[in-house]
Point group: D2
Chain length 351, copies 4
């Protein structure tokens, strides 16, 4: 029997608009390694981000993007500040350390860190008499939404940015699920805001409707000297680079590949997905199941009684997170661009 698919947001292929663009362009012959007309999706993305003089580079996956960017931007003696629940701190198999850098973790509240905490860690470093024997904080890594679906507000991001500037650190935002931040009613951070507040961020494609792909946005184009060669060196340069341009082009209204020129599908598609998530959240609250973390996006975390978990698992493919206590487990329900309305209805009935 088919189980309702709510375990993650990368379980299906591509959004129909994206797949269609790939099909229509399949037999065209173009140059490789990004030197093709479709990588002009860059222009559309920069326009959407309000930084026409910036630069966009397309990569394949999130861990690859994080490891590459951090390794390109830090000096060898610097580390990156992140939430202890941050993806780079936990679930990237030590990719940041493999690139030579320490992840300087801060306790997280709802998956988020604060400007005060960043300032605290950084001041402690600069106040330390033997700081020359220590790793210098050189960058702050955030994810928007976070690994727990929560959102940084514009004010929170601006405060962290201010601390970064004060101490000569860069601010980098991991937007693996950015479409689901943009689609949340609770969100007050636009693409243009991200471009204005950060030194570099990426617009996630893999979890937001593409077969694969992430678009790195640098509001200032000279941020990383030799970036192309660094991408190649990291094994992150896709031979058929146009596959990324075509897919992001479909999402950002590029004529010839998008269903409708100028329409920013990426900014739209999150709304319904988040609505689905919030309906699940409401039902859990109604049902009296405690939320593990209260998320305003597409990932809903709750504390589920073990006694009922097997029954749930027969009907629903949910995401296992961790043990909560002797009798409860933290699980996740995750919606995506591929979630069907009728599956949400069915899930709500089961819960």
């Amino acid at each position: 029997m088919r189980r309702l698919p709510f375990s993650s947001d990368y379980m299906e292929g591509a959004h129909p608009a994206v797949l269609d663009a790939l099909i229509r362009t399949n037999m065209e012959s173009t140059d490789g390694y990004g030197a093709d007309p479709y990588c002009a999706a860059e222009t559309a993305i920069l326009e959407a981000c309000g930084c026409p003089d910036g630069m966009v580079r397309f990569l394949v996956g999130g861990t690859q993007t994080n490891a590459l960017i951090i390794s390109c931007l830090l000096r060898p003696y610097q580390g990156v500040i992140a939430a202890e629940s941050g993806h780079i701190a936990v679930h990237e198999a030590g990719a940041i350390e493999a690139g030579g850098h320490k992840v300087l973790t801060l306790p997280a509240q709802d998956g988020k860190i604060t400007a005060d905490a960043v300032r605290g860690l950084t001041e402690a470093y600069y106040d330390n008499e033997v700081r020359d024997h220590m790793v210098q904080p050189g960058m702050v890594y955030l994810s928007q939404p976070t690994e727990f679906g929560t959102l940084y507000t514009h004010a929170e991001l601006a405060a962290i940015r201010d601390v970064c500037h004060e101490y000569g650190m860069l601010l980098y935002v991991d937007g693996a699920r950015l479409a689901y931040a943009l689609g949340s009613a609770a969100n007050d951070v636009s693409l243009k805001d991200l471009a204005a507040l950060t030194d570099i961020f990426y617009i996630g494609g893999t979890k937001c409707g593409l077969l694969f792909g992430e678009a790195v946005v640098m509001p200032h184009k000279d941020l990383i000297p030799g970036f192309f060669t660094m991408i190649k060196q990291h094994g992150a340069l896709l031979a058929k680079g146009r596959l990324l341009g075509v897919q992001f082009g479909a999402m950002f209204g590029v004529e010839g590949v998008a269903p409708e020129p100028g329409r920013l599908l990426y900014e739209e598609l999150g709304k319904t997905v988040v609505d689905y998530g919030q309906r699940i959240r409401a039902k859990l609250i109604e049902r009296g199941l405690p939320l593990y973390i209260d998320s305003p996006t597409n990932q809903i975390f709750c504390v589920y009684p073990d006694a009922e978990l097997a029954a749930l698992g027969e009907k629903v493919n949910y995401g296992y997170m961790e043990r909560y206590d002797a009798d409860h487990t933290v699980i996740r329900f995750c919606t995506s661009w591929a979630t069907r309305s009728e599956d949400v209805d069915a899930l709500l009935e089961i819960l």
Copy 2:
């Protein structure tokens, strides 16, 4: 005006059978990171390679694959022997060195190295009184076909394998264009032979009909402890791993995705492609244009007079290789699964 596309074999999207498999499976919901039913293409590949107890892992691109495998298999004090024209020695932006290892280059003849040369380098190392201050050769890297389209014979591979065994080195074959070796009349090395002769090799997808993807074949499954985590750490783990399984499944006759169950499209498709290449070769010879290297596969290299190059370039998208002398340039004509018969005819008329 459309120029005839002969510059490379990664200019188009995917072979229709592959694209079709992606379309048909697009909305299925599967687990990520290779834990999906389609990654069972592994079984079909192992069977085709005659090593049912081996292991296959799917990666995205060639440089990524080379860097990852070499970094997984060498000890930190070891280097990898390669032809000075080998892809890892020249065109991977120092990815092997970035992973900590020296590429120990040997002069190449037609893009190939010999067992004698490998033995010479290795013996010189072991004979050296201060070898403990030097990089130890730990692996031999070959490409089949080579970067110049030439082929190692079964006997040549076996001889190199023998030297490897004698000195405790591993043998790794880069098969980025393997389909075009398999499709050559001059080839006497089958997939089964590669599995029998090497410690590890990869079956190239990107240049052989897939959107992207390379299948790493390890005849002995325990070759690399922790390989999954290493893949993740290198940013080489595709979230939607089934995209790789589906594409290779279409190529290796997997029921449900392949056009015809059991039919090894990968072993077939090279034949026509190589025939196209050989027609171009024959025409160049007839025309009296010297071959730079005589290749029996899909890449044809010739020495072209500069005076005629601009005219050629108006009609044909050829590959620039390097300057030959003051008046000549080495160029490449490359055919692929996407090459059309009428384009070959048109090219032959132009030459």
Copy 3:
């Protein structure tokens, strides 16, 4: 005016017996890179450690030793467990991460970690469903004495060793100040115990009477294949290796360099040094100055009122550690092989 020297244990040159050995052997001509007769100090050390079939390699400094050993012994996807106050976690400028590995920190109690905590972290890893995306604990790093002068008991070490064995992890002990553990009345862990309990440890020279130098002891000689070349690659191979052999020879009773053949100066010299430390400790307690951490060795940490710090600083060169609160600072008094009895008396009068 000369300030009383109590800031650290690496402020002077070498113990007279060591200096004398260097002077006497200065003009002898020997082979380099450890291939000299004096590196036979290895035999004396192995005998003192009760592992005659082991191997000793001499290195120059502590951070170098830690980074090299950890990088030699971990697989790329593994990390090293350490106290959050461990030297490798804080004061080695990210050397472990620069070598590619995450330091998996545990909260420390008096600078120590427990077998239970090690087990907890390790079990959590093996219980995690997505552990393949995470760094695997591959080694436990301890320091004896710890960075805060405290000691692991034999029972504590044995318990940690048991957890290591259970989970296939190596146990490595950093003995930068090992002589001051051996000299403490509170210590129940001998050199032979360390050899029996650990996979690898080092006997610190730099802080224990040598100009410089650390002796890495491997109870089983085959622990690290290619170790010599790894040492060279890390820039850790001293050209005049005999300088290390001569110095350790003087400490471990080697005929011709030691003041008295067979006498283990290294095991003796700590006693007086620790006695000096303990006299300072007693005085602080008597005076009512709270100990920050209660150490039974040569480093004494106390919480000092800021109001009196300037006055102290005029007469005493103490070690600054960190701010304690608005009005207090944590400082360290450190004795060493070079400490003079009359300086201790003078310090006690000042306190």
Copy 4:
């Protein structure tokens, strides 16, 4: 029986003036990690180099110095140009590659490379259409004297420097045996010239009279941001940094440690050593033994008949280099600050 010691220049301890300085300062108490008064040898060295606003940092050994400097100065996508016989290319166990960088080798003539060859390699890179997939030359590495004892002239260095400037590359000179260049009648490159011509170089101590130690000279002090922390991270920071300051101080006339304040022993001591070498060279020529490479410094290489080698070896400790042909071996006679006049006489009689 004692064999005449001519195998290398790091077989003895320290020059008496250096040893004496260490003895006299042994029991002084100073701060660690270079924060001691003796590291003011920096001032004397900068003065000798005519770059008072530069910076000197002291390290322990040559491979360490090369690996650290190259890793500090290259961007990750850059490589270092060196002679194929250069120390970093052959005898440092892959330390440069372990730091992530390719050594771009050029054929050497008498151990040297030419400005033309450097320009050729660099131009070929910049002319290559796919250079973005290749390692960019970012630095030139030379040794003065070379590994074969030969010398770059001022004109040769200036020409190489010009090419470096033209292509934005740094020029780094390895002066492991610099005293023996300075002591050669054939030399026209002073310390001041090196400071004027290079971006960074090091004054070798280990082979030139110190127990150990190399002084890195940066004519412009801001060349390497975070250099101290990088030194620490590489395990290259000596705890008792004053040992390096004291030794170099003795060599560069620092009051209180040098035998004679202001006297530059380092610039003087090579003369006699080179004279000894040249006497050996003259005898070999007289005797009709072919020089392998004609060196004007302290290393003399000749082609020796195997039939006589055993007899020679009984009386002389020479350096084995490599096999020359079936009946001959390349060997080295090496003099040093420790060479005794009577040993040279004895050797000349034997030859």
